[in-house]
């Protein structure tokens, strides 16, 4: 087990509302070495994201209220009919253009910064991952697996190579990039090990199903396991299976988990729409965290159906996602939440958040009376990291506050 870096002394936070210094991020056995200046680059990006959300985005709302909506009504004789029409109208608003251009650039800069950190030491990272996973039967890779088009055609959140690209045999650089830069994208809202989502799920389970004692847990779309580790730790008696289509993220996941002393996880390369390798009713819990929006319609339906098949009676399916576009959600908010779909390479995001997910869960075989709903916010060390539950601001689609889409089998 690798010793975690000491937390920097917490500053007087009474009137400081920004992200902590990047050095507060937890280190583990496959964490890249991040130099002083590379750290400063990530600090800048975390602050940029917070600045855009808290200081620039309110002007977008104000500009729409002051002139955008009026202009649209003057031109069309009616307000926008749906979120797409409203978003297209926003495209001609200069304040929206500036915010959007800066937000897109900040993501591109974040990828550039993180990829330089991890590519310059790609060989070393691969060697470390190999050392930690070589000969371990809990790493099950399948080089013949076809990467689905919804993953390969457009790289999610502008991350070149997404979760699956392998630059050389044993490469984990893409995974290390995703992992160590999450801090910058979320402005620290996911906490020390970017695991605030997982801790939030555990907290929800402890509150709502205190007696639930799973023997087998499956997470689909696990990527580097940042959200899964708190679950594996909270249920140490369970065998936890992490599934993803990307070999690099799974290699990294197992190495990362082992170096943090977590030993009840298996990493399996598979397409979550077809998990025939696992028997019917062989899991107590199927979980995903911020995963559904990176799928496609048919894939999501297939995953709900597989979740139903894989769960034993009484088992639970929990998919943690950004909130749906309910009819009472203002069109402006829907349009702003759609930003990531069209401008941050998350193409399914818009369609997915407009669907009646309860109906799809029922169509997959779950009973209406067994549907599960609820809210989850990231649980972080509040002495160092910003707390999403306390934050009254909004960063449409990026805030660490999610809904549960789920059901009991």
């Amino acid at each position: 087990m690798v010793a975690a870096a000491a937390s920097p002394t917490a500053p007087d936070r009474t009137d400081y509302d920004g992200p902590p210094d990047y050095r507060a991020v937890g280190r583990h056995g496959v964490f890249p070495e991040v130099s002083h200046d590379e750290t400063a680059r990530l600090n800048f990006l975390a602050h940029m994201n917070r600045h855009l959300a808290s200081r620039v985005l309110p002007h977008v709302r104000a500009a729409w209220g002051a002139r955008g909506e009026r202009g649209f009504v003057a031109a069309h004789g009616r307000p926008p009919a749906d979120r797409h029409e409203l978003r297209r109208a926003l495209l001609s608003e200069p304040v929206f253009q500036t915010w959007s251009a800066l937000r897109r650039m900040t993501m591109e800069q974040r990828q550039q910064a993180g990829r330089w950190v991890t590519l310059r030491q790609a060989d070393k990272l691969a060697a470390r991952a190999k050392e930690l996973t070589d000969g371990d039967s809990r790493l099950e890779l399948d080089p013949s697996l076809a990467i689905p088009r919804y993953i390969s055609a457009i790289d999610n959140h502008c991350m070149p190579g997404s979760y699956h690209a392998e630059l050389f045999e044993g490469d984990v650089s893409g995974a290390a990039n995703y992992d160590h830069g999450l801090f910058a994208t979320t402005g620290g809202q996911l906490g020390r090990f970017s695991d605030g989502g997982g801790h939030g799920v555990v907290q929800w389970m402890r509150r709502h199903m205190p007696d639930f004692a799973p023997a087998r847990i499956l997470e689909v779309g696990a990527t580097v396991g940042h959200s899964l580790l708190p679950i594996a730790q909270a249920y140490p008696q369970a065998e936890v299976v992490a599934v993803d289509v990307g070999a690099p993220v799974l290699r990294y996941l197992l190495a990362r988990a082992k170096s943090l002393g977590i030993d009840n996880i298996r990493a399996v390369q598979a397409d979550a729409t077809d998990l025939r390798r696992f028997a019917d009713a062989s899991f107590d819990w199927v979980q995903s965290t911020m995963f559904l929006h990176e799928l496609s319609g048919p894939a999501m339906r297939a995953i709900f159906a597989e979740s139903h098949r894989l769960l034993r009676p009484g088992g639970i399916m929990l998919h943690v996602e950004q909130p749906q576009y309910a009819p009472d959600m203002p069109l402006f908010e829907q349009a702003m939440r759609d930003w990531d779909a069209f401008y941050n390479n998350e193409p399914f995001w818009s369609t997915m958040h407009g669907l009646d997910l309860d109906a799809l869960v029922i169509a997959a075989g779950f009973a209406r009376e067994n549907l599960l709903h609820g809210g989850v916010t990231a649980v972080v060390d509040k002495t160092v990291f910003p707390d999403a539950a306390d934050d009254t601001g909004e960063d449409f689609g990026r805030k660490a506050a999610w809904h549960i889409v789920g059901a009991r089998r």
Binding site: H36, A40, R41, N43, S100, L119, N345
Partner: protein
Amino acid sequence: MSVASALAGASAKPAGKRPYFMDPAVERVLAITMAVAQELAVARERIDTLERLLERQGVLARAAIEDFTPTPAEDVARGAWMQEYLNRVLRIVQQEGEAAASVGDLASEDLASAL
């Protein structure tokens, strides 16, 4: 992995067409400006680290930086540096000014066809 491929890979384009929100020429300059703004923040943070370490080690009191007054000779040297710096950064402003006042300036395209 070679340094050349790490450099190329670090700035690689993700799959999927890039959206533009402004005139692409403006957005291109803004993107470069924001990258430079980031590097300025990096340099500023490095100076801050340096000052704090020097203070911790008793080499320097940071208040001395705030209280610093250049000697007359230092003042001249620093002022001269600033003049040279602005001259370099605002090169195009000078050249466009000279162009505005020039008479009979030829484009190479025009002269090339006559040669």
